[in-house]
């Protein structure tokens, strides 16, 4: 892990208070993997903010790292005010990453709201590996939906729910996920959600509000789908020393997001 000052190459203000930040990467730093995050220092807050990698790519041999975050407080507000050419102090990449299996070909991704941030990078990575990607993407208000066109191109099927009902299906993504999975596994009716190839041991990846993650895991684990979740917690350092970023498993075990996380195997985490 390294501390560095990276230049803002591009910053885009999206609807729903979302900010899409592109930084020119430094070749001396480790290439981030999907699920990992960085600590981004702000000018106005004392401690940095942990923000997951939204994408990483090269253009003309130059690396770029992207972050997608919602302005929710002072730290993210401060970051949203950066302009092209400004520098941001950050350190990372931090934590473990979503496991990507060479011998699997189907992935079910479930994103709630801001949860799309790390799952987008996972989507591009899985796409390059030739995966069939089924993305379930739910938001409160339809204007929060990001990158719909690109996601449509990357995914074999894209399921959208909005609570305001202005796009996709009205309601919660957990319900649509539950219905789609049950429909397939319980009845195996055709034409189904997955084609024959896809039906072979899919892997499920989830990121969103805690309650959504829990609900999705209940469903996926019920059907014996290997599931990985991305969790978050407040943290001070991101380097493994403050010991502040803890989450507790159903069994009462304490894990540190920055060291043992942020990605956890759902079966182990929920002790199901």
């Amino acid at each position: 892990m390294k501390q560095n000052n990276l230049k803002v190459a591009h910053i885009r203000h999206l609807k729903g208070d979302y900010v899409h930040l592109t930084l020119t990467y430094d070749e001396s730093m480790e290439i981030p993997k999907p699920g990992q995050f960085f600590m981004l220092k702000t000018e106005t807050t004392l401690i940095a903010r942990p923000i997951s990698v939204h994408n990483f790519f090269y253009v003309l041999k130059k690396g770029y790292v992207e972050f997608l975050f919602k302005v929710v407080g002072e730290g993210t507000y401060d970051l949203s005010k950066k302009t092209k050419g400004d520098t941001i102090t950050l350190w990372g990449p931090i934590g473990n990453h979503f496991p990507v299996f060479e011998d699997r070909k189907t992935a079910l991704l479930v994103a709630g709201g801001r949860g799309i941030a790390p799952l987008f990078y996972l989507t591009t990575t899985l796409f390059e590996k030739g995966y069939d990607i089924y993305l379930f993407y739910g938001v409160k208000e339809s204007e929060e939906l990001v990158h719909l066109l690109r996601l449509k191109n990357l995914c074999k099927k894209l399921f959208i729910t909005t609570e305001d009902g202005k796009k996709g299906k009205k309601g919660f993504i957990t319900s649509l996920f539950s219905d789609s999975i049950s429909q397939y596994f319980d009845t195996r009716e055709q034409p189904s959600l997955f084609d024959e190839r896809s039906a072979q041991s899919p892997v499920c990846y989830v990121c969103g509000p805690d309650i959504m993650i829990e609900r999705v895991c209940e469903i996926s684990l019920k059907h014996d789908i290997e599931t990985y979740i991305s969790l978050e917690a407040r943290m001070a350092c991101g380097t493994g020393v403050c010991l502040g970023c803890t989450v507790e498993t159903a069994g009462g075990r304490i894990y540190h997001i920055c060291k043992e996380g942020p990605i956890f195997n759902a079966k182990e985490f929920y002790c199901l």
Binding site: M1, K2, Q3, K41, T45, L46, I47, A48, T89, W91, R234, M235, A236, C237, T239, G240, V241, C242, L243, G244, C245, T246, E248, G252, I254
Partner: protein, 298 residues
């Protein structure tokens, strides 16, 4: 660049910049960012006799100008320290001080007895002032007789430098006098300040243990007060600690009477903070043509 050697009774440091317990892990964690051997001393995360899992629930809250933490002294215990940590710190070429925890005198003494024969351990810092635990911690330091007994017992068994870490929530003048009289080498002033935070949406205390410890710039004036009073009234070397974010804060503590300082929360804010603060402090001393830190004292 000239190093500024400082002496705290029998504890000799190559420069006055230390890193505070609980903010620097065990020292090896920061190797990715800079050569930690340049620091005056590294103070480890507190070590208890057995391993401690730490507190459940929220552990960190940022407030204006500070952080409140309720970690709960999570650590691998003395066995874990010896087997897992020690091999990883052997090659750190600076003074290494182990912070010692206990819920009663017996535990403190047992940990110290285990540390006394480890060559890599150059000294200990005894924490009698943690605000985040139910037994030991602040409640221990409030009992002056008990603390005197503890200082005496530890002095008897531990031949290397001993520091006691005090708190503004304790009778620090009296405690510092006890430490001086019992031959303790120095006192660290101060530990985090006992604090409270409330989540008004849930109508709950933010921390499961109710209290947390405040650190960061918000506590600096309080730390300066304690450093000034102890160094003026007691005559024991003082290590200043509390909200140091820049070399200017270091100079303030030295002017208030500290012989050395500890960088704490700043290590969280940016991993290379202690390195920058040390570099800037040495540049300042050079620029001002200061040959001995004693000259700085008001």
């Amino acid at each position: 660049m000239k190093d500024f050697n400082v002496n705290l009774s029998n504890l000799s440091l190559k420069n006055p910049i230390m890193v505070a317990s609980g903010t620097f892990g065990f020292g090896f964690e920061y190797r990715d960012f800079y050569d930690t051997s340049i620091l005056g001393a590294i103070v480890s995360k507190g070590i208890s006799l057995g391993p401690k899992q730490g507190n459940y629930g929220n552990r960190i809250l940022e407030i204006k100008g500070g952080i409140i933490n309720s970690i709960g002294l999570e650590n691998p215990g003395i066995d874990g320290f010896v087997s897992d940590i020690l091999p990883r710190i052997e090659d750190i070429e600076t003074t290494y001080i182990v912070n010692v925890l206990g819920s009663d005198s017996e535990e403190y003494i047992n940990v110290v007895s285990r540390l006394k024969d480890i060559p890599r351990v150059d000294g200990i810092e005894v924490n009698i002032s943690c605000p985040n635990v139910k037994s030991g911690g602040l409640s221990f330091g409030r009992d002056l007789n008990q603390t005197r007994e503890l200082a005496r017992s530890i002095r008897e068994i531990f031949p290397k430098p001993i520091i006691f870490k005090l708190s503004a929530d304790l009778p620090y003048i009296e405690l510092a006098k006890i430490m001086r009289d019992e031959g303790i080498d120095a006192v660290t002033c101060i530990n985090t300040i006992q604090s409270l935070a409330i989540d008004i949406d849930r109508k709950e205390f933010y921390f499961k243990n109710i209290y947390g410890g405040l650190s960061g710039p918000a506590m600096k004036p309080v730390a300066l007060r304690v450093v000034y009073q102890v160094s003026k009234e007691v005559g024991i070397p003082v290590i200043g600690c509390g909200g140091i974010m820049s070399y200017r804060d270091v100079i303030e503590f030295l002017m208030a009477g500290a012989t050395a300082v500890q960088i704490g929360t700043a290590n969280f804010c940016k991993p290379d903070s202690a390195y920058r603060i040390l570099e800037d402090t040495l540049l300042y001393l050079q620029r001002k043509r200061i040959s001995s830190l004693e000259e700085l004292r008001i």
